[in-house]
Symmetry: C2
DNA sequence: CTGTTAGCGCGTTCAA
DNA sequence: TTGAACGCGCTAACAG
């Protein structure tokens, strides 16, 4: 049960070398001859040496650690993003500290402080919905800690963003329905104070106009991301004079509610009414293959955001300009029908 | 853009004190008078001081960091557990490093090394399915790093486990059906080389025998956690001479497949056949409220495991005995029927 | 190519 | 009650 902490001094002593030589050898410095490196590496392995990252980080004032702040880890989209982050960071020799804001501003503030205490080299964050004021982020800049936003756009100057192209997603969803032959396409919208839902709505309108279909206010149904919205909207929709033959739902929960209600009423999907919904959760893939989804590329976003952050970190002095990366979502159709 | 790193020396200088006094004041040591503490704390706040955890950890050789290893963060059950871990750890002043093994033994080995390099104080892990050999865990014990297993049982002596009572879950699922009036209850089992599925199966048998119902081999259908298993099993099940009026599925995916198939065939659920399924994912709650589920308490498990680990860490020398905590799952019925 | 020296920021002796 | 001095383990500067 002895405490087995082998240091570079121990292996230096065992080899009759200086600890600095051992350090250089372990770091594969060009200033050490290969033969010495071999000897040191062999001895280190033999003695079960493990570098103390704390001491190393303290000395270099670089921790090779990045902090990640998401609203909620259990949301499938965010856990996918984290997978992507982890993978890229890991390959680059970085460790990741994950924190959840739970959409609370105060928690977000505390987390920033914790991460600063841990001396992270950079932060990836998806800002909480409660956050309207960005003063708590200023300390990061002051300390030279790099910051990249993902998924949720943040318009502070000089910060990079990695986002999903919601306009394009909305456009493609709607165009998909049009190309399937739909003429009267309803839109279940999301809260219009959020950028993403506004953009999906814009994409919808743009697809209609591109294909010469009229935009009708009566075909737009607000929804608050509840299943029941989908049901109630569907009910109203069936009562319209001109029958609707397609629905683009900006959120999957409303789409699911709609599918249930319509199926109950004997409406065939997608034959009578085709539905395309955005999806953050894996629910949609299981619930009904007739639901075509706009898939958010979480893992890819995580990778892209991490790569960008690492660039910012390494170019810290060469000052990399802030940039915005827009990622495409993909339309996934599992069960096709209609012309 | 100046580098704003305030140290205890800076605040000592500003106050004409020694850094050691400042250190003691910041740590609320009894060896400093209250008045001095107040002055130091005020100055620290004013100067925007933030303790350097690296230096602190290096000195104390305690990092207040715990490592968490899960197979896959995007599985809802694990992300729930992590939420629980995070919360408890956070309250106790610990930071959490999350890693995924992706069920690969080699990744698990590497992760252990990474965590040791980070000098974590303890590790919580759900062992990968590929892992049959536990030698890579011995280094942890050697270094005095505490280790607690959760969700997936690991029978190395002297380690604590936090598990879910699958036997009880299987028992309660089956008994629930019996109390609803079911007489012929089928079981969709999972891979019997895994402890959890074996135990759920045992619970099923025990409930039958307790209530005087015969166990029939013909009512047990193997499943490999695929939706299609649920469909095929349901097909076979409808062809049986004695009609089945209840199904206990050891996994939710098969249960979902069954629900779809049976509904298609015009079978009413739960009126004709009632179904109870274990669930790891939130799918079941959305797909059909007629599906009664055995819910796995992820958050609670995370909290319990963390509390236990922290006890192990703090009692390190007082040597806390290994223990096994068994958590109850809860049966959730959203839509009731039958007598 | 290798050794010597110094210090990252903190907490903890030992003195006063 | 406070100060002085040392060292955690490592790396970077400067020699040689």
């Amino acid at each position: 049960m002895q405490n087995n902490k082998v240091t570079i001094h121990d292996i230096a002593k065992a080899l009759n070398l200086d600890s600095s030589t051992v350090s250089r050898a372990l770091n594969d410095s060009p200033r050490v001859i290969q033969k010495t490196k071999d000897i040191v590496l062999a001895k280190a392995a033999e003695m079960g040496y493990q570098r103390n990252h704390l001491a190393s980080s303290l000395r270099k004032s670089k921790t090779n650690t990045i902090g990640v702040i998401v609203p909620r880890i259990s949301r499938h989209f965010f856990s996918s993003v984290i997978s992507g982050i982890e993978e890229t960071a890991y390959e680059a020799g970085y460790t990741v500290i994950i924190c959840q804001s739970l959409e609370e501003f105060n928690r977000e503030k505390k987390i920033i402080n914790t991460l600063m205490g841990q001396r992270v080299d950079g932060v990836l964050m998806s800002i909480s919905m409660e956050t309207k004021d960005y003063k708590h982020l200023e300390v990061l800049k002051k300390q030279g800690i790099q910051l990249v936003f993902f998924d949720r756009h943040c318009d502070i100057p000089n910060y990079s963003n990695v986002l999903i192209d919601d306009f394009k997603g909305g456009f493609e969803a709607t165009e998909h329905l049009i190309l399937k032959g739909c003429k009267h396409i309803a839109h279940f919208s999301g809260p219009q104070n959020l950028e993403i839902y506004k953009n999906r709505f814009k994409g919808y309108k743009h697809a209609l106009s591109k294909h010469g279909l009229p935009f009708e206010e009566a075909l737009v149904f607000p929804s608050k991301l509840m299943e029941d919205d989908g049901r109630k909207n569907s009910e109203k929709l069936l009562a319209l004079p001109n029958p609707v033959d397609g629905i683009f739902s900006a959120n999957d929960v409303a789409a699911i509610g709609a599918m249930k209600y319509l199926t109950d009423k004997g409406v065939k999907i997608p034959e009578d009414i085709a539905i395309v919904g955005f999806s953050n959760e894996p629910i949609s893939t299981v619930i009904n293959p007739a639901l075509t989804t706009i898939n958010q590329p979480g893992i890819e976003m995580g990778k892209a955001a991490t790569e960008l952050l690492l660039k910012h970190i390494t170019k810290e002095n060469g000052a990399l300009d802030a940039q915005t990366i827009i990622m495409d979502s993909n339309l996934i159709e599992r069960q096709s029908s209609k012309k």
